[in-house]
């Protein structure tokens, strides 16, 4: 039981670390870092699902019968790309916000906005 699932539990912990950084931290770049960690942990989670004991990488070759499940790999390849795309856009936004507000700290930005209106 414990051995059967420990792997997933570690992943969950990782995810939550990332998730925590996203929602708890005020620095915009740090939020995005958290997001990356969060997503990467999800990737690990998927990949763990794909593993088969005694299986090998899903590349057909002579004399290998047992392969790991290729489908999650494919999904995660896509997901990674989506991840980097999001990161890039988020960082671009952070840069622009820095230029517009002179800060990338949530509180200061909120303060400045409240002054506006």
């Amino acid at each position: 039981m414990i051995l059967g699932l420990y792997n997933y539990w570690i992943v969950v912990v990782l995810m939550m670390v990332g998730f925590y950084i996203v929602i708890a931290h005020g620095n915009l770049v740090k939020k995005i870092i958290g997001l990356t960690i969060f997503q990467t942990s999800v990737f690990i989670f998927y990949i763990s699902m794909a593993k088969v004991d005694g299986g090998t990488a899903p590349i057909l070759a002579e004399g290998i019968k047992q392969f790991s499940n290729p489908l999650p790999h494919v999904l995660i390849l896509t997901a990674i790309v989506v991840g980097i795309a999001t990161t890039a856009l988020g960082l671009a936004l952070a840069v622009r916000i820095k230029e517009a507000y002179g800060s990338v700290e949530e509180e200061e930005i909120q303060k400045k906005d409240n002054l506006d209106c």
Partner: protein, 311 residues
């Protein structure tokens, strides 16, 4: 940890670690990608970003108890959810029973590509991959829309001088790089076209290719790099990559088959599949490379722009 630089470095290491973990988990392609993206691109982008937004984070004032509660709850739910999951590595788990077997058993006959991941990625679920390319394209356009700066001719000289100083500094690096870059590019091409036999494929290739350009840019400065890489040309290439992918699908449409059904591309369906995969992987490669370059260039151009504003 308030120093973002350190955080980002750790993040890079985390990426690298997870990549190696993927290798252990037999997910070589994913590992390859994660290594190039998680440890490479995203770290690089973040470094560029903090060079503009500042590398130190303010201490969090408000007590993040709510956040903690949310996180603990979510985590608890997930743990709870895992309880009924089939054990790790269990061959009898439904995911190994239902859909995947066909990929493993029949992909050779149906597509004729040893790397199952590639055949699934590029044929069975080719539309997802098309979507993936579009996502990257979207991100590229988004960054352009956000960051692109109208370049002013007059300050070209200023940058020149800036680069000069740079050149003096990193003499060794420059030479080493000059030697390295061709090999990197070559490797990129290898990854590109070898994707269906071993790990790799359009995406990884594109990233590696872009990486070479980054290296060059970082050492020889933007303006030098601009002489090599024409902005509008890269944008064009990005579009062309997507279009190449799409048009492969359209061709199969015109031949009366469904979208992205490669079997019509050649007389022998399997050969058609093979050809189709090559083409779309090429499309992926082109788009990814050019988008990565676009993103990086626009970030870098922003820095340059700010420096000019300062002096």
């Amino acid at each position: 940890m308030k120093d973002l630089l350190a955080v980002i470095m750790l993040l890079g290491i985390y990426g690298l670690l997870s990549a190696s973990f993927f290798v252990v988990m037999d997910a070589v392609d994913v590992a390859f990608t994660e290594a190039s993206v998680g440890a490479g691109i995203s770290t690089l982008l973040m470094l560029v970003t903090i060079s503009m937004t500042g590398r130190s984070e303010h201490p969090v004032r408000h007590k993040p108890l709510l956040a903690l509660a949310v996180v603990i709850f979510t985590g608890g739910l997930l743990i709870y959810g895992t309880l009924d999951m089939p054990y790790f590595g269990l061959a009898e788990a439904p995911i190994h029973q239902h859909v995947a077997p066909r990929y493993i058993n029949d992909s050779m006959q149906e597509i004729g590509v040893p790397n199952i991941v590639t055949s699934v990625l590029a044929s069975y679920r080719a539309f997802d991959t098309f979507g993936e390319v579009v996502v990257i394209f979207t991100a590229g356009i988004g960054v352009l829309a956000l960051l692109s700066v109208a370049r002013r001719r007059d300050d070209a000289t200023k940058i020149e001088s800036l680069n000069m100083s740079m050149h003096e500094k990193h003499l060794i690096l420059r030479i080493v790089t000059k030697i390295l870059i061709p090999f990197i590019l070559l490797f990129a091409l290898y990854v590109q076209f070898h994707g269906d036999y071993g790990p790799g494929g359009g995406f990884q290739a594109g990233v590696i290719f872009a990486a070479a350009i980054f290296l060059y840019t970082m050492l020889f400065g933007m303006s030098t790099a601009r002489r090599v890489i024409n902005q509008s040309l890269t944008q064009l290439l990005a579009a062309i990559g997507v279009l190449l992918y799409g048009s492969v699908g359209v061709v199969s449409l015109l031949n009366g088959k469904n979208f992205l059904d490669y079997s019509v591309l050649a007389t022998d369906p399997v050969a058609g599949q093979h050809l189709g995969i090559l083409l779309i992987e090429l499309g992926v490669g082109i788009t990814v490379a050019s988008i990565m370059i676009i993103i990086f260039f626009n970030f870098a151009a922003r820095i340059e722009d700010q420096q000019n504003k300062e002096n």
